[in-house]
Each structure stands twice: as C-alpha cells, then as structure tokens.
C-alpha cells in the first residue's frame, strides 16, 4: 500500500470536519455506487436466477427469482461440462505452474546472477512485451501442429508456458532485485550455491508476488478461446469451447436454455473458489504498484 497511514486507521475520524452528518452526506455516493454495483453484477444475478428455472418459466419471466429450484438443469450442465472443466483445470493449472516456475528461474538469474550477455538477453525477453498475440497466432498454430500432439492438453500447455514468460519475468525480476543483498551474501559465505539461494531464500520470500503473478496469468488462460479453437481435439476441449458450442441450433449439446445458464454458473465456480481464497493477492497486487506495465 502506498499510503500506510490510511490503511492503518480504518474508521478513525482523523479530520475534525468529520461530523455525525458526514455519514449522511455520503448517502448519495453510496446510492450511486450501489446502483453501479447492481448493474455490474447484473449478469451474475441473471445467470444464477435463470439457471434454476424450467424452460417454460424462463420463457415467461427471465428477471424474477425462480418459483422453485430446478436442479435438473445442473445435472444436464454437469454432464456436458465435466470433461471440459477437467480439461481446462488441467491445462490452466499446468500452464500457470510452468509459467511461474520457469519465469522465476529466469527472473532470478537476471536479477542476481552475473553472466555475459545478461542485459542483452533480458532486452530480448522484454521485447516480447511489444509483440502482440495476433502476430504469432497463425504461425504458432502451424508450429503446434508440427509437434504431433494431436490436439491434446500439451498442445496448449506448452505454448501457454511460453506466452506467460515475458510479463512474469519482468515483474519477478523487479521484485527479486528488492530483496536485501546481505541475505544472499551471507548464504554464499555459508557455502550455498545459486540454486539453493534461489529455492531457499528468494522463493520463500516471494510467495505473495508469485501468487499475484500466477493469478494474473490464470485469468486470461482460463478465458482463452482463440488458441483452443485452433488446436484442440474434441476430447480435450476446454470450457470456453464447450460454452460456445451450447448455443446455436438446437441448443447444441446441453439440452435447453435454462441449462445453459446452469452451465455458465458451473463454468464460473472454479474461479470463484480460487478467487475466494486469493482475491486479496489479485487486488493488492494490482493496487500496490508492484505490477505495472
């Protein structure tokens, strides 16, 4: 946090101008923000209430609460989505782990190990931040096809690991540079080698930033549509591909309109769970200034 004084005194009336009326004067702000929150969260409300309706009820009222809970929709959605959910979790989980592991190694080398050409090689990595995804999309697709992975999980995991490197190395390198030098020098005196200093000193001190970097990589991978659409086979298809296939005639493979909403809810649950535990890292990572382009 850039202004600790504020963070430490949540409700302290530090300013004399704060009176009892201060709270009431803020009412218009709360009303405006409340309305904006409702509008922003409306899609979530919409998919949740409609996921519990029967098709007939959905056809007549899509804004009300359901008259009873039609759990059958979730059965249909689960049947259609269990494999894609597993696929996405595997692909994104392995991808994010790979990104963070490789990027941490490289960032540590760029920050803490001397070797000829270090700066030039870092510039080479940094330059990738300027290379937009569309430039490499089509040749990347052809490159993946050449590997004979037949559209399995690895055909996404491997390119994802590559794609996350530049940004993650950039953020982690700046963080590793802030770690006190003395720690590493002391360890060196005690006979620690570079890998031990990396795994026993640098990594344990960097858990929050590692989690932040993992989350920032995770969200776009979870949402990716372009590369899965080009490379994956039917067996390995991800949640985004499955959701896209539900719409159209006649409601794709899920059964009915209400079940589609149940599918949307199911597709959101994994991130609900992850973010439920780790939202703090996402918010603080973005607002503390440690992560800036």
């Amino acid at each position: 946090m850039s202004s600790p004084s504020q963070a430490q005194q949540p409700t302290a009336p530090s300013k004399p101008r704060k009176t009892k009326h201060g709270g009431w004067l803020e009412l218009p702000k709360h009303l405006t923000l409340g309305l904006l929150v409702l509008l922003t969260l409306f899609p979530i409300y919409y998919i949740i209430v409609n996921s519990f309706k029967t098709v007939t009820e959905l056809a007549t009222s899509n804004l009300n609460l359901p008259s009873h809970l039609e759990w059958n929709n979730y059965g249909l959605a689960w049947t259609a989505l269990q494999l894609p959910l597993l696929n996405t979790s595997l692909i994104v989980g392995a991808g994010v782990l790979g990104i963070v592991a490789l990027a941490a190694l490289s960032a540590y080398a760029f920050a803490r190990i001397e070797f000829p050409g270090r700066n030039a090689l870092f510039v080479l990595v940094f330059a990738l931040l300027l290379v937009p995804g569309f430039l490499t999309l089509i040749p990347l697709f052809l490159q993946i096809k050449k590997m004979n992975l037949s559209g399995g999980h690895l055909s996404l995991i491997l390119p994802y690991i590559a794609g996350g490197q530049a940004f993650s190395i950039f953020v982690l390198k700046s963080f590793f540079e802030t770690l006190p030098k003395e720690l590493f020098e002391a360890a060196k005196v005690d006979g620690a080698n570079d890998f031990q200093m990396f795994s026993r000193i640098a990594l344990p001190l960097s858990v929050p930033i590692l989690v932040t970097v993992a989350l920032i990589n995770l969200v776009p991978l979870w949402n990716d549509l372009l590369l899965p659409r080009l490379v994956l086979n039917e067996q390995s298809k991800t949640v985004t591909l499955a959701l896209l296939s539900f719409t159209g005639v006649p409601m794709g493979q899920i059964g009915n309109d209400a079940a589609i909403n149940a599918g949307y809810v199911l597709a959101s649950l994994p991130l609900v769970i992850v973010m439920g535990f780790l939202m703090r890292y996402y918010i603080e990572g973005l607002t503390s200034g440690s992560v800036k382009a």
Binding site: H30, T32, L105, L225, L244
Partner: protein, 309 residues
C-alpha cells in the same frame, strides 16, 4: 564484494580471463534461463519470424512459399474490405477508449472519496467479482440480450418503445454499435484498481492543502486528481488503444464480422484470411501492417509522454 568480482572478471580490464572462460563462469546463469529460452524460441521468436517474413510471400499453407516482394502490401492498401475494417476499428476505438477509461475512473473517484475505508474495500471487491465469470459468458449473454426476444427489446417493450425494437446484431446499421456498447456500465475491474491505486498514490499533504484552499468536488478532480493520475491515464490509454486494435474474440463470438463486413475489424479479416481462406501470405501481411500501426501508436504515446514530463 560481488560487484568487485564482476568488474575484475567481466570488465574491460579483465583480459586475464578468456571469453570462453567468462562464458563458462556464467554457466549457472545460462542454465537458469535455458528453459525459458527453449520455450520462447520455439513458440514465440520463431513464429514471429515466420509471420514477419511470410508477409512477403504467397504462402498458401501447402506449397512452399515464393517471395513476391511487396505485392501483398499493395493488395492490402487497395483492398476495400480492409478499408471498411479499418473504418470500423477507428469508430470502435473512438467510443471504446473513453468507455474503458471514464466510467472506471469515476467509480474509482467515488470509492476513494468515501470516508469509511472498510466500505472502500467492500466496493472494490464487489466491482472485481465479475472477473470470476469467464469472459465468454459475458459475450454470450450480451449476444442473447441483443437477440429478437432478448433483454434489450424486452426492456424497450416495458418502456413502450416498440418502434425501437430490432434484431441488433443482424442489422447492419446497429451491429457495430451494439458490439461497442455492450458491457454496460463499463466498469472494468483492472482499470478501476489501477485508477484507485493512482488516487491512493497522491500524497495526503497535497490533498489536505487542496482541501484547505477550498478545492473540493469537481474542482479537485479536475485540478488535482486528474493531473496527478496522468501515469495511470497514460497506461489505460495505451492499453485500451492496443486492446482496440486486437479485438478478435468479440466479433468472432458475436457476429463473425457480419452482417456483410459491418463488424469486421482488420484483425478479424486477418484471422479469417488465414483460417477460412488459407491465404497465409496475405494474412501475414495484414498482421504485419497492424503490427506496424501498433508500434507507431506506441511510439507516439511515448513521445508525447516524454514531451510533457
């Protein structure tokens, strides 16, 4: 100590150490970055090279490519579809960039102005919650909202504005605007958090001094907050500008560029030229052009920023 070591072994004076020996001494460093570079080489540097060099060929994906010079580029600049697509993208950017910046900034201002810090945190969290919903769900929902029996027409019906009802995405005169303006009220979690961090970064002395001078409300926003958040505005401007040039998923899901080419952006045209037509050479020339445009925009942004610093 490590600095001294570095100078004596790596500096210009280090003639006692042969270049090979210097490389050998750096072996641990190379070992650490080796995995990254294997991945980058195979999945990024090489494809980028294929893309940039392929722009000057007639490659169709099957036969070996022939070098054809600038033919693809002259074709692109004379291509009427490219003209329409560029025009669509400019319209999109003119609306899309303010929509990415203004609502999020105003929401950040409102949240930051609350006295209760717990309320600030609660609102921040509430606005960030939508990131758990896959973005494809947002697109598919809006696609259904714009349908003939969708929510937009339904609301127009409630308001007795039946004359305004239409099938928004298949109507050439409304499709582009429908895509641009979906996502109401346009408050993005990432943008909001960046602006909030910017406001937090303004020192409390400046804030208190401004308050004592009677600078409150809109006056303070215009004279204190906006000037001091210029770095955040710059970041958001360049990110939303780059985002505008790279909107590919949206038209694919919503309209696939139609009706006709009403919602085709250059990037979608590039994509379809490769994926549907198999005209890889021409597609790579289109992405080459788009890449250069992006580099120029980035350069202008940097130059302007330097000038006003």
């Amino acid at each position: 100590m490590s600095m001294k070591l570095q100078r004596s072994t790596l500096g210009f004076a280090g003639r006692r150490v042969s270049p090979l020996e210097r490389l050998w001494r750096g072996r641990v460093g190379y070992l650490f970055i080796l995995p990254t570079f294997v991945f980058l080489g195979y999945f990024l540097y090489f494809p980028a090279w294929v893309s940039l060099s392929g722009a000057f060929t007639d490659w169709d994906g099957f036969n070996s490519p022939n070098f054809i010079g600038l033919e693809n580029f002259t074709r692109a600049f004379a291509d009427p579809i490219m003209g329409t697509a560029a025009q669509n993208n400019i319209i999109q950017a003119l609306w899309g960039i303010p929509l990415a910046i203004v609502p999020s900034f105003l929401a950040a201002e409102l949240i930051f102005s609350l006295r209760d810090l717990r309320a600030q945190y609660a609102y921040r969290t509430l606005f960030v919650i939508p990131i758990v919903v896959p973005s494809i769900v947002g697109l598919l929902l809006w696609r259904s909202f714009y349908g003939s029996g969708g929510l937009i027409n339904q609301l127009l019906g409630y308001a007795h504005l039946e004359s305004l009802q239409r099938v928004w995405l298949t109507n050439a005169s409304t499709a582009l605007n429908a895509i641009i303006f979906m996502g109401f009220p346009w408050i993005g979690a990432f943008n909001l958090l960046i602006f909030y961090a910017g406001l937090q970064g303004i020192s409390s002395e400046i804030r208190d001094a401004a308050t004592l001078d009677g600078s409150v409300g809109l006056h303070r926003i215009l004279n204190i907050d906006i000037p001091l958040c210029i770095p955040q505005f710059r970041l958001m401007l360049i990110l939303s500008l780059l985002g505008s040039a790279q909107r590919l998923v949206e038209p694919i899901v919503m309209t696939n560029g139609g009706p006709g080419f009403a919602t085709t952006y250059p990037i979608l045209y590039m994509y379809n030229t490769a994926v549907q037509e198999g005209d890889f050479g021409y597609s790579m020339a289109l992405s080459f052009i788009l890449f250069v445009v992006i580099l120029i925009l980035n350069g202008i942004n940097n130059a302007v920023a330097k000038r006003y610093q």
